[in-house]
Amino acid sequence: MINLNNNSNEPIVQAKNLSFKYAKDLVLENITLDVPKGAFLAIVGPNGSGKSTLLKLFLGLNKLQKGSITLFGESIQSFKDWQKVGFVSQKANSFNTGFPATVFEVVESGLTKKIGLFKFVTKEHKQKVKKALEAVDMLNFQHRSIGELSGGQQQRVFIARSLVSEPVLMILDEPTVGVDSKNVHQFYEMLEMMNKQLGITLILVTHDVSTVSDKVTHVACLNKNLHFHGDAHEYNQLTEEELSEVYGHDIKLLSHNHE
């Protein structure tokens, strides 16, 4: 991933003075945040802190109300290059486990936009699907039905579905919900590999602060306002008082290796 373009230091995602309301509820207030190329950013915060709302703004699924977002240097309102952006959601929300699709078919569907309307899947596309399945170590399951797999395996398949379109930026919304704790660690190792070896910039919304803090490069603490945004090392230096200011009363739910 060598970029000879002299803009290569420009942040991949730039949010300026973002505010967002659902009806009258202000969920995000005046958020300014940069995600540099190659970063692995964890966005942490209590339930209802606006984490998912922020992701949906980045993905163009929520309409911009106040402030601005730039993706790859281009305003999100005119941004068209969505194939550069991969998205992995909380699996439980977005799919019906009785859906009759094979692992291969699911990953292949990640190419839909890239192939384009009215065009067909070719042999090269199928080759890409296999490579993506290999990267997440799920090639042996390609002919299995997606519903038969465990939560962790399903989430790997969804990562492959995103990987297959060769994204530059991947956005993950609490991907480990429904993955048993034994496999969570492995899952994060896979993300680390994608970040370090494939050079994919990652934005991860999560509750497992303690599990990720040694893998990510940057942390952002969100609770309507952005309370902390810096590199992972600084985050680990935060004292308990500073953390409880960030999380408010939810601090007990989010252990931070300090116990």
């Binding site: 977005s94 839909t112 309307l117």
Partner: protein
């Protein structure tokens, strides 16, 4: 029977239509079922009935319209109904199933009004209700061939988009797919297939041909393409078997087709149980 088919044009029409519908309805039905829209097919068929009643009324009232094929207005009403359903589903976002009883009873209400204005119809309408073999004309056949060809072509060209939309709508939106436009094309396809299937299986049974073969394949299909294949095979077995049986036993074809589909469904559930118990 084969010699009868060769001798009588109406039997040729019925069999050719049946073979087309037997593949077309379950093929679209796979998407209808996985998108949890099975009831919509039922609602639309009742709207199509209103179109047919309206057409019969026009035919009765205006001599100049005597040659009008009721399928045209049936299709028109069905497509109109599908657009109205979409509108209702977006107005009542949290009560999307409300659209179905509204459209269904609206369709029946219109039909009843058209019948009363016309002061009753002859046996024609009964044929549309339960399906009829003798009623399929050569123009019906051509119309159905036309619908089938367009639907199959669109189906192949939009297959990957329809799959993504059905499997994960949020992901489809996030990847920048024109989700609304694709959904719109899909619902119009459903409306057209319903109107085309009415001649053979009848309004009251159309949705069964879209859903029962699919329900049977759901028991053991591993993947989506496999599911489409099984559904089409079950659909064809039901239609061809139903037409042959109804010819020899002098039964209503629509009912016979549906009952064969139900028997296949029961067999597939039993097979699935047996397989999991002894595998």
């Amino acid at each position: 029977m084969i010699s009868a088919i060769l001798d009588y044009e109406f039997l040729q029409n019925a069999f050719l239509t049946g073979i087309i519908i037997g593949a077309l309805a379950p093929m679209i039905g796979v998407f209808v079922v996985v998108r949890r829209m099975s009831m919509i097919a039922d609602a639309l068929s009742h709207v199509a009935l209103a179109g047919i009643a309206f057409s019969l009324l026009l035919e009765k009232s205006f001599v100049s319209l005597a040659g009008l094929n009721p399928l045209y207005l049936g299709m028109g009403f069905s497509v109109g109904g599908s657009l109205f359903i979409e509108k209702l589903r977006s107005v009542y976002k949290n009560y999307q199933e409300l659209a179905i009883p509204i459209i269904l009873s609206g369709g029946i209400g219109l039909t009843a009004i058209f019948i009363s204005i016309a002061d009753g119809f002859n046996a024609d309408l009964f044929g549309y209700l339960f399906g009829s073999v003798s009623a399929v004309s050569r123009t019906d056949l051509w119309l159905i061939v036309g619908v089938a060809l367009s639907v199959v072509i669109i189906f192949f060209f939009l297959y990957k988009e329809l799959f993504l939309l059905s499997f994960d709508e949020e992901h489809a939106k996030a990847s920048g797919l024109p989700v609304k436009a694709i959904h719109f094309v899909f619902i119009v396809m459903v409306a057209l297939v319903i109107a085309a299937s009415m001649r053979i299986v009848g309004v009251l049974l159309v949705s069964s041909l879209m859903t029962i073969p699919v329900a049977a394949s759901l028991r053991f299909a591993k993947g989506f393409k496999q599911m489409i294949t099984y559904s089409v095979v079950f659909g064809e077995v039901s239609v061809i078997g139903g037409l042959v049986l109804s010819y020899y036993l002098d039964l209503a074809p629509g009912g016979t087709i549906v009952l064969i589909a139900v028997l296949i469904l029961i067999a597939s559930i039993l097979f699935d149980k047996y397989k999991t118990r002894f595998a």
